[in-house]
């Protein structure tokens, strides 16, 4: 239970707690002690990295991009080419007869109109169960079209930062919780779905399906902000959709799992992560148990699994056994 609570705290924007040394498992203490004896040299780390990169090439990222593109193409094809499998847009749709409704959009509509249509309730329930099973924020990295373009913009941002042509300004992560509450409150008070107006997820999904719109200018402005001012700002600090699915995934069986035994604590995983605070456990001395499930704010994008040179991070489906690497 305490891990769920910790996961919630971090999701809401608080700093991950430091482990209580009484709670650290003896085997973990031993493992840390052994690592202290054998110091990692830079040459050794480079060699390990090099060895790792020979083997594979971002397998999870590839799978994820293909999935994300296919899901969005299914929306497009269902309308444009009359395939009729997944009709609608990401906010609400019909999948071979089943209603689907994006949860945050449903919440906005329910609060603004003070009414929840039965079909919407049905669609939202289906989506809730689906993403609770699949990992909550899995929606973000495996389906949301904005995530993909933001990921590309992020590469540009990092390239610029490396050359000192841009800076990464950070904000307090707790502001996303504030946005979540404010947008819910605004919908209720104003009677309009204000967040939907700004949501790059909805705008991009509709633009893909129904054709380009002026609203894409807002998405472009967000991307420019992320490229030149603040890395992945929308997903990290603003988007209430991410918050919603984070809550949905609190108890999800699909996790990234960390095993501290072989970890060099060099931080490659945190450097590529959209939400690096969830990987604080990979910092030397932070693990309490040999294996740790990564918290609910994790989007299960798999970048850390791809980048980890020691195979210390892997996907784990509770009840199905682990799938390391």
């Amino acid at each position: 239970m305490s891990t769920v609570l910790e996961s919630l705290r971090v999701l809401l924007g608080l700093k991950p707690s430091r482990p209580n040394s009484d709670r650290v498992a003896p085997e973990v203490k031993t493992a840390y002690a052994e690592k202290r004896k054998e110091r990692l040299t830079k040459a050794r780390l480079l060699a390990v990295r090099h060895e790792h990169r020979k083997g594979c090439c971002n397998a999870w990222q590839r799978r994820r991009w293909i999935t994300l593109i296919l899901v969005n193409l299914l929306f497009v094809a269902s309308y444009r080419f009359d395939v009729q499998i997944l009709e609608g847009a990401l906010t609400a749709s019909h999948f071979v007869g089943f209603h689907l409704a994006e949860l945050n959009a449903t919440l906005q509509v329910a609060l603004a109109s003070r009414h929840l249509a039965f079909n919407l309730l049905l669609g939202a329930t289906t989506v809730l169960v689906l993403w609770a099973l699949l990992g909550g924020r899995t929606f973000c990295s495996w389906v949301c079209p904005y995530h993909l373009v933001a990921e590309w913009a992020e590469y540009l941002h990092l390239w610029l930062v490396k050359r000192r042509w841009a800076r990464n300004i950070t904000f307090h992560r707790g502001v996303r919780t504030l946005f979540y509450l404010l947008f819910a409150l605004l919908a209720l008070v104003s009677g309009y779905t204000l967040f939907e107006t700004l949501s790059p997820t909805g705008i991009l999904s509709r633009a893909l399906i129904y054709g380009p719109s002026l609203a894409l200018l807002w998405v472009a402005a967000l991307l420019l902000f992320e490229v030149f001012v603040s890395r992945r700002a929308w997903c990290r600090y603003v988007c209430p959709i991410g918050m919603t699915y984070g809550l949905v995934g609190l108890l999800s069986p699909v996790r990234v799992q960390y095993n501290m035994r072989n970890c060099h604590h060099e931080g490659d995983c945190r450097a590529v992560c959209l939400v690096p605070h969830v990987l604080d456990v990979t910092i030397r001395g932070r693990a309490q148990t040999m294996e740790t499930a990564i918290g609910a704010d994790c989007t299960r994008c798999g970048l850390c699994v791809d980048v980890c040179p020691t195979g210390s991070l892997g996907f784990k489906v509770t009840g199905l056994g682990g799938t390391p690497q």
Binding site: A92, G191, E196, S213, A233
Partner: protein, 279 residues
């Protein structure tokens, strides 16, 4: 455990406090910026510039679209189902109306060629209310002869040729041509001694004719509109016949779409609807 770390603890150094302060200010600016942007979306609705001709069943008072915009989840399933592609989605200039469906009747009106109000059935959120089942129950607006002097019927003129010219892309269902599939208006020339296109193509009047002949649409007598929507009648000013909009008008906009003069002599007002209860 739940303490937010902006609250500077005793161990905090002056540098750390300054950093925290700057982070707080940056975060406040971000909050203000994003909220400000979202509130800009209210300008078009408060200014009334986002009011539009909505699909059948849109829950709104003629003058107040708030309920409709609040309930619409902006998914476009109504767009996808419409057999004449009458429905489009509003863009950024509509503010919070972005992604909400509307109809541009002059380009492509709703001619109810689906009979069953498919957009209403497709709507998951009830923004297009399931309380209506038949075209005659819709209250989308009300037609008005806006330029009587341009009306061909009023001048006693006929009409021969393509109502909207060869380049016009709009479609209508002509039951006598194809009961199921709407065809381009540009493929359907007319030859009328007296122009009565607005009456002839009115979906309500078409149904009334079918019902009078004992063949209601889909064989369903419920499809029969109880009241007339438009008719050619003699004017009081000594001029010839001209179209008179009746209280059975649902405001679908087909008359505005098909009117052969430019700009159309008859238009749909979206800020008023027939006062006759549809139930």
């Amino acid at each position: 455990m739940w303490k937010i770390r902006w609250a500077a603890g005793p161990a905090t150094t002056a540098v750390r406090r300054a950093q925290n302060r700057r982070e707080f200010l940056r975060t406040a600016a971000l909050t203000g910026g994003v909220l400000g942007a979202s509130l800009l979306g209210l300008i078009p609705v408060l200014g009334g510039t986002s009011a539009r001709h909505r699909p059948p069943g849109a829950i709104k008072d003629p003058l107040d679209e708030q309920q409709f915009l609040a309930a619409c989840i902006k998914c476009g399933q109504c767009v996808q189902i419409c057999p004449v592609q009458a429905i489009r989605l509003a863009d950024l200039l509509d503010g919070v109306g972005v992604g909400a469906p509307y109809i541009e009747a002059r380009t492509q009106a709703c001619d109810f060629s689906c009979d069953g109000l498919q957009c209403v059935l497709a709507c998951p959120s009830g923004a297009l209310t399931h309380a209506i089942d038949y075209p005659a129950q819709a209250r989308m607006g009300l037609a008005r002869l806006s330029r009587p002097e341009a009306c061909l019927a009023r001048q006693g003129k006929g009409f021969k040729g393509l109502a909207r010219g060869p380049a016009y892309t709009g479609k209508l269902r002509y039951a006598e041509v194809d009961r199921w599939t709407p065809i381009p208006v540009a493929e359907h020339p007319y030859d009328l001694e007296l122009c009565d296109l607005c009456v002839r193509q009115c979906p309500i009047e078409i149904r009334r004719v079918q019902c009078a002949a004992g063949t209601p649409p889909s064989g369903d007598p419920n499809q029969c509109p109880p009241r007339p929507a438009i008719a050619l009648e003699p004017g009081t000013d000594g001029q010839g016949l001209h179209p008179v909009v009746k209280d059975g008008c649902v405001g679908c906009g087909v008359c505005e779409m098909i009117c052969p003069v430019t700009p159309a002599a008859i238009v749909v007002d979206i800020d008023r609807v027939s006062k006759v209860a549809w139930r």
